[in-house]
Symmetry: D2
Subunit: 406 residues, 4 copies
């Protein structure tokens, strides 16, 4: 059995120690409501994710019973108002992302795709009918959504999009014909509705494409070494005919999908620290129980050095995420701040997870322990929603005024 | 289909470039025979490993047809003389390890376990009968051997061994009764013969335990995130009765198994650079074909920086391995030199593989590309035969005269 | 002339950019009073430190006119109440440390030695007479204090202290005789009063030793490669006779000096980020003005990568310092939190300063630019008040419960 | 007194240890003649450089008596044949560079400027008269040469050169008028002859300009934080009239000076490892003598980790330099190989020197110990003859075929 289910607070109590994951007392910056919500998500992770995540991961399956549970938990479209959405704060959303990703990045990714991408797009850019039709069921986890932006040949350059929608007829009632291909589309093969971005005569526009629409094919990408308890698909659109009501009326140009990406990146900055903290805690626990030359590993200088360096990064990254959350809740969060946090937190999280894994010795290569799984997952998280390079150059342009992308 | 099958020399020809994997012209340090042997192993890897490795890895299976092929290739017990062994030089053995691990660490690990551990133990410490019985068939790959030293509670501290063999009767004909448990024993569940190290009244001794001996149970460790195309087992010995002929007469004390570990570590120092080089080459190829903003990735400063840093480490590590090989062939190789090379080459290889993976973008998380698989594999390689910490402290003691293990 | 005098806010205005040193809008976490105080210190640094610091550093002199100016500025014993001290908050003290160290670590070090060490010791542990005698003049910068704790053979281990004070006579009026040696004592050769820590029959006690007391010798340590605009001394005490009034009545044991060290370390965590920010800003400015192949350096990917990585660390470290300040002002700051911040902020500051220097090309090796001077200074800062290793092991013990110092 | 004078071989003997600086037995790759020459240079460094280098550095002076001593030692123009030059092999030249830079980078730099730049240019491109006039006296150290290529506004881009020479009259006897400015010109203020590169109607050409020629001004760059025992100058040429015999007949275009730069870079790759080895040895010695908590520093895990990591890089870099030397002696050394070695060896050397310094605690910031001086010196070495970025992009172009300089 894995050690991973032990709650860090319990561990702290068990060993008579201060909370080793919050040396900086960042919890003192959270309100009682926020702490309570976090505890609720943490319990969910302990009870619904940790016991089975290794099996899901080994088998490469996304647990289809989870969306409804997550809906009940109140984390789908969590930060949205109305239409059955929980309407929680950005900080609360962040705390939830952190706790869920302490379980697994793939589960947090589902929540991001559903809430920050698909629901957020409909909430921001949809018609009243579209919102009424989809959002309540999506918030409940009865309906799964996905967000089709990335294309096979242009991971980091959405402006080179080739998927296109042309008018199917003329006049008010004219629908659309959609052709093209998308890649790395989370949950597409199980989604009930897709938010698809395509070029039109009128610039990039978004469309809602229900599951089962003729001409749509979603094929899960197989043989993955990362986020195996999640689904990413290749999606093709082959002469897909859509009615006029498929169009998201509110979004024009790439700023539409980009604003959703920023929502998702915000959640990633929090989530990555969840994976990092869980890795650190797993390594700390192991080091305190595993003897080497008759002494716990945790009593050696080389181990303490690793643990401390991990702790430092987890604490800084968490503080950064919280700062972003407070800015967001006060309406002042800017895209470059999100870039900074996404860049830093995922990069540091992967470093922490890799370092944690080294403390586990040979045992660390199995799914009995979380760090190597987290490290593998974070490979996906590091790439999606903007690689290190993309965010570095976004920030580089911000501070120098000079674009260096090309 | 993966890009990985393209030979680097061909790639170099295709793009009209110098050999981008050997900027330092290290090949000029190899004799024609050595180059020819390397080419033969490289071809084997291209033809017998690369086409299927992703599937083996995904399915978590060791390809049972490979041992015979590797026997035919002449890489099993490659550096041993007589008893059907190829009798090749240490450098040749190293080159073979490098090319096989360019395919997959799991395959090279099989060759190491078979040749450097099991066969080497029998060759060094076995009786004439034992050698005659096992070595020719092991060299041919007809018989698989394993090497049972590591125990569940003492990865880096073999001196705390608890597996024990006691005399079963008295006098010349007295056999042995073996009890205990081992962990991380490569190939144990498919092995025809195990070299088992156990405490006795006479210190640590080695025993040959044929497959099927009553009381021996070997259970593959499942749910691995590393070296999935390989097998490592938990092995238990429960009142296993062995005849007197089971004892390896030549080995007394831990120096016996340790000298085999040094053989294996030598091969690892080479092998890891194979995984690193293959990662670098995969990233280089991808970067030259993948366009970003209309220009190959390889034309960007941030990509070139990564490629160059990878190249530098691959070249230095390869030079280091070759230096060790020349020392070994001249009978002057010392354990601390092997520690230095094992420490450096695996550590740098894992860094290179991780960096290579970042160049592949989202596509890099699938088994269609080798770097993330190599990085995952190297997690095992980094741990087995001595972690970074163990080799650091071995070297630390060597240069300061002070042990700091405890 | 150096570029360094340009104010970052001006620079931002000049280039039509957002504030490139505060992408995270950390300034929004500061109150107007705090911002005003910071601006006042920043102006002082621009006017009184930057124009001459290169010359002071080159010549290896501490500017003896500065203490009075700093007293007038209100930064000596800044966080202390009464006795002529400014009584500012911990955050304000931190902001001042940051701005002064943006000028030079040696200047900030003087302020720390004076305020956090010498004045703080007298304020905490002194008699009313001692406070009245020394604190008002020290706050004004008329009198310089120093703090003699570290000994030549025990940089990181104050418990091995050998300097000793024995009773000189008996009864109430008995004075003391002090013998021993201290090293790395800041400002000792120009100090008017020394706070000296020594073993006694009653444990470690503190003494106030006025300049000119017979038997005291303070010799500046020469040929320094770091903090050349500052003074550190070897101090010897050879049969120094002190009256009974020399004793600091309030401090018994090492917790006395240690609580002062924590005051100083708190300021260091802020100050180091000042040196880092100034290095980043110097590199950013240079990169925007220096052309390479007809384009500003700042327009190249490799430069932007460096700048962004620097920015990220400066912002995180600043946020960490501010968090500590808020904890301190609310009476909740704990020693291990200070250890975390001292470890992180100095380590990251030195990395930032070194990286900044590489952007400056050959010009970066002169005192015309600040980064290499800051990097050199931070070598001292990294060592004093606890090396990386000491703080790592303090934190290691905190989180694991196991000491690994020995 | 400094510890630095202790010979590593002696240290090894003193502590009954193997040679802690050559764990890989790289010395076994050297011929007896090579070892003898190295010992001779090592002795020179011990006797002529180490005792005084701290004072020269502190005072910022180049020791003017050294050139003659170095001439006698046979290291000026060491690898050149004829004209009084020693005609030693590339490996011998490299070994000398390594031993001299173990003393100080500034001294090795003088040898490089004299031999690899100035003498090499005259030897390669000079007329018979020019060679006869200058080389013998330069080899003897009676005459100092310098090499004026770099310009103030173009450190890494010689193709933007603005210094120009125009014909002064017409016909065979026409001389030249030289105008322009150079920067970072080593030894220029004390040089007897300058090799100056300038644009002409016929492309870039080289000129020999004797000291004292009217219109030439060389001003040492002051307030340096690096290589203070060396001289670098700003040089201006203001209507400098030269006779026709000033022209170096053999060089046309930038390939002339570039081939000299490659000579110098080759020596740097060796030299940097000398500074690194000396830093490592200084830290090792200190750690064995300095007690902490009653045990030598060298007995702690955190110290051993640092020492071992330093050792590993010193050994790899030395092996790399030696490989280049063997290639050079066999006429096969290529520019991209030199770029790889310059990039790697200086970068690693600076890392080693910085790490070594941390072992020295507070004492490490003085000139009593070499590591921080080496680290400071290597800041210059890292920049001159091509920064990390320049060599990275040279190699990047080499392996990808795509230039990414602009």
């Amino acid at each position: 059995m894995s050690n991973d289910a032990l709650d860090p607070a319990e561990a702290s109590a068990e060993y008579g120690l201060p909370d080793p994951s919050d040396v900086l007392a960042l919890d003192s910056l959270l309100a009682p409501d926020e702490l309570a919500l976090r505890q609720r998500i943490r319990d969910f992770t302990d009870q619904q994710i940790r016991p089975d995540i290794a099996d899901w991961y080994e088998q490469g399956v996304f647990p289809m019973h989870l969306p409804a549970q997550l809906g009940e938990l109140g984390v789908l479209g969590m930060h949205l108002e109305g239409y059955g959405c929980p309407g929680r704060s950005a900080v609360e959303y962040g705390l939830a992302a952190m706790e869920l990703e302490a379980g697994d990045s793939g589960i947090r990714t589902f929540v991001s795709v559903q809430g920050s991408l698909a629901m957020s797009a409909i909430h921001k850019w949809g018609s009243e009918d579209q919102k009424q039709e989809w959002l309540p069921r999506m918030a409940a986890g009865e309906v799964i959504g996905c967000f089709a932006l990335t294309e096979p040949t242009a991971g980091s350059d959405p402006s080179s999009m080739t998927t296109a929608a042309r008018r199917d007829g003329t006049g008010e009632d004219a629908g659309w014909v959609l052709d093209g291909a998308k890649r790395w589309i989370g949950l597409a093969s199980v989604a009930d509705v897709m938010v698809v971005w395509a070029r039109t005569d009128d610039g990039v526009r978004g469309f809602l494409v229900p599951a089962g629409t003729e001409g749509v094919t979603a094929t899960p990408i197989g043989r993955k070494l990362s986020m195996r308890a999640s689904i990413q698909c290749d999606v093709t659109f082959d002469g897909v005919r859509l009615g006029p009501e498929a169009l998201l009326p509110g979004a024009r140009g790439l700023s539409g999908p980009f604003s959703c990406l920023n929502e998702a990146r915000y959640g990633i900055a929090w989530g990555a620290m969840g994976a990092a903290r869980d890795s650190y805690e797993a390594a700390l626990r192991y080091s305190m129980e595993r003897l080497q030359f008759g002494k716990p590993l945790s009593g050696y200088q080389l181990t303490q050095e690793k643990l401390v360096n991990m702790l430092v990064e987890v604490q800084k990254g968490t503080m950064l995420a919280l700062h972003l959350g407070r800015l967001k809740d006060s309406g002042r969060l800017r895209p470059e701040q999100i870039s900074l946090a996404k860049l830093n937190n995922v990069r540091e999280a992967i470093t922490v997870a890799r370092e944690a894994r080294t403390i586990l010795g040979g045992n660390g290569i199995t799914l009995d322990y979380s760090p190597l799984r987290h490290a593998a997952n974070l490979e996906s998280v590091r790439t999606y929603e903007g690689t290190d390079e993309v965010h570095t150059l976004i920030l580089g342009q911000h501070i120098t005024g000079l674009p260096a992308f090309r």
